[in-house]
């Protein structure tokens, strides 16, 4: 309780003063999380779509694997990637360890199963009618996928939001692979971990509040962007839905 009050006023101070150190690590956190989510989307949406839409032998087993990967602990991902990119690992010569790239790698590994699993569930709930309709209108396989994903867009966008939230909030991979190096690989969460270990609980909490604010702004922007996208749909006359399709 006592920390929360202190943390709140401290967070407000930090934000109002535009503390440059805080701005920098917040910027880095967003950037890394956004890139990892993008990578996860590129892999996870198609794979999730296939697992959700097609029936083939082994589908159910693969789906269980994807669901299992949802419980990858961040530090395990950190360790596994560490052993690949450490100087003594097979990719050692690229010198990736303790760079932002290493963090992106780890976070992408964490985010991909999330996007995959949720896309899978979303497209699995769709009616087959729509697939038939799309095909009969002359859609290619890829266009069918696009249309079905559009149809499930609330859930697919939700998958990306969940993945972004997961990676911007994770600390294990960022810590192990980035090294929490000041001015280079320090993210909001590794800074929080550091302040916590120092016993600076109020400061740690205020960074946590800033992280949530950052996420909130990102969410609002995504929401806004999504609305704009709608307006610029296929038909460009005056098509602007008065309300969302539910």
């Amino acid at each position: 309780m006592h920390y929360l009050a202190g943390a709140l006023s401290r967070a407000v101070d930090l934000i109002l003063s535009l503390d440059p150190a805080v701005m920098e690590i917040a910027g880095l956190s967003i950037k890394l999380a956004a890139i990892s989510t993008l990578i996860a989307a590129v892999i996870g949406i198609p794979v999730g779509f296939i697992l959700g839409t097609y029936d083939f032998p082994g589908r159910s087993f693969l789906a269980s694997i994807v669901n299992t990967l949802l419980s990858l602990p961040t530090v395990v991902v950190g360790l596994a990637i560490y052993s690949f990119i450490s100087r003594r690992g097979p990719l050692g010569r690229f010198g990736l360890l303790f760079t932002p790239t290493a963090i992106i790698l780890g976070q992408a590994v964490l985010a991909t199963p999330i996007v995959t699993a949720l896309t899978m569930n979303a497209t699995r709930s769709l009616e087959r009618d729509l697939q038939m309709t799309a095909l009969s209108l002359g859609a290619s396989r890829v266009q069918v996928a696009y249309l079905l994903l559009l149809q499930a867009r609330f859930a697919v966008l939700g998958a990306l939001v969940a993945a972004f939230g997961r990676v911007i909030a994770e600390v294990g991979a960022a810590m192990m692979l980035g090294g929490n190096i000041e001015g280079y690989t320090r993210t909001i969460t590794t800074a929080i971990a550091l302040e916590t270990s120092k016993g600076e609980f109020a400061f740690a909490l205020s960074l946590g509040i800033i992280l949530l604010l950052v996420s909130f702004v990102v969410n609002i922007l995504v929401h806004y962007f999504q609305q704009v996208k709608h307006r610029g749909g296929v038909y460009h006359g005056e098509s602007s839905p008065s309300r969302e399709f539910a």
Binding site: S86, R87, L97, F98, M175, M176, G179, N180, I181, E182, G183, Y184, R186, T190, A191, A193, L194, T196, S197, K198, G199, E200, F201
Partner: protein, 243 residues
């Protein structure tokens, strides 16, 4: 149930696993070990969330007692800090005569140096030596990692750089890192551990009785004998003050 908040390095050294069963048997109590950084351990004590602390940062320990959060602080033991570096010692730190000189050589060579950067006992020690040497270390050769000892050793290893470490952690990492001891032995690098009971006047619920048993046990001849005889990988880790 006695809640002991201590540093990760103490827990990781294995000393507690060696000591505590004896204590638990003797006083018929279960000890729950919370292993965290010194700063966090002190914070837990302040809030009354731990009954007794075993930590290593003399200055904050004294402040903790002076502010009335803890009582009956006792020195328990010490080990020491060492400077690790690559076996080839590219900066030539090995020829230094003192810890201050060692860090000065590193700074002049702008050799990579990894700092804990986390206000831990180790970090504070490092800062005090820099201060002594009148040097303001700077990025990029100076890397404030903000992590535990083990990870910092790994970073230094990866970067072919130097790092100030406590001996216990180094011993447990010895066969996982290529770094070797480049400099050791300066008295300034001693690392004393203290035990403090949380003040029962401030936090009436704490298990003060068992906390005092623990304080006394550590400083009893039996406790001292156990500490002195504890070896890790064949090396003695902790030394006693001759009092």
């Amino acid at each position: 149930r006695l809640i002991l908040a201590t540093t990760t390095s103490t827990e990781n050294s294995g000393l507690l696993g060696y000591l505590l069963p004896v204590f638990e048997e003797r006083f018929n109590v279960r000890v729950d070990v919370i292993a965290v950084g010194t700063g966090k351990a002190l914070e837990l004590g302040k809030n009354g969330d731990a009954d007794v602390l075993l930590v290593h940062d003399r200055k904050s320990e004294d402040a903790f007692v002076a502010d009335g959060f803890g009582v009956n602080r006792r020195d328990v033991m010490y080990n020491d800090y060492i400077i690790l570096g690559p076996p080839s010692d590219p900066a030539g730190v090995g020829k230094a005569k003192s810890a201050v000189e060692a860090l000065t050589i590193i700074a002049e060579a702008k050799a990579p140096f990894v700092s804990r950067g986390d206000d831990s006992g180790t970090h504070k020690k490092e800062m005090s030596i820099w201060k002594e040497a009148n040097i303001e270390p700077e990025a990029p050769w100076y890397m404030a990692a903000g992590q535990g000892m083990g990870p910092c050793i790994n970073i230094a290893d990866e970067q072919n750089g130097y790092v100030l470490s406590d001996r216990g952690t180094y011993i447990s990492y010895k066969n996982k890192t290529e770094l070797v001891i480049i400099y050791e032995g300066d008295e300034i690098m001693f690392n004393p551990y203290g035990v403090i009971a949380v003040n029962p006047d401030l936090h009436p619920h704490v298990n003060y009785e068992q906390a005092m048993n623990f304080v006394e046990f550590l400083t009893s001849s039996e406790g001292r004998a156990l500490i002195e005889s504890y070896k890790m990988e064949g090396e003695q880790l902790f030394y006693l003050y001759s009092n």
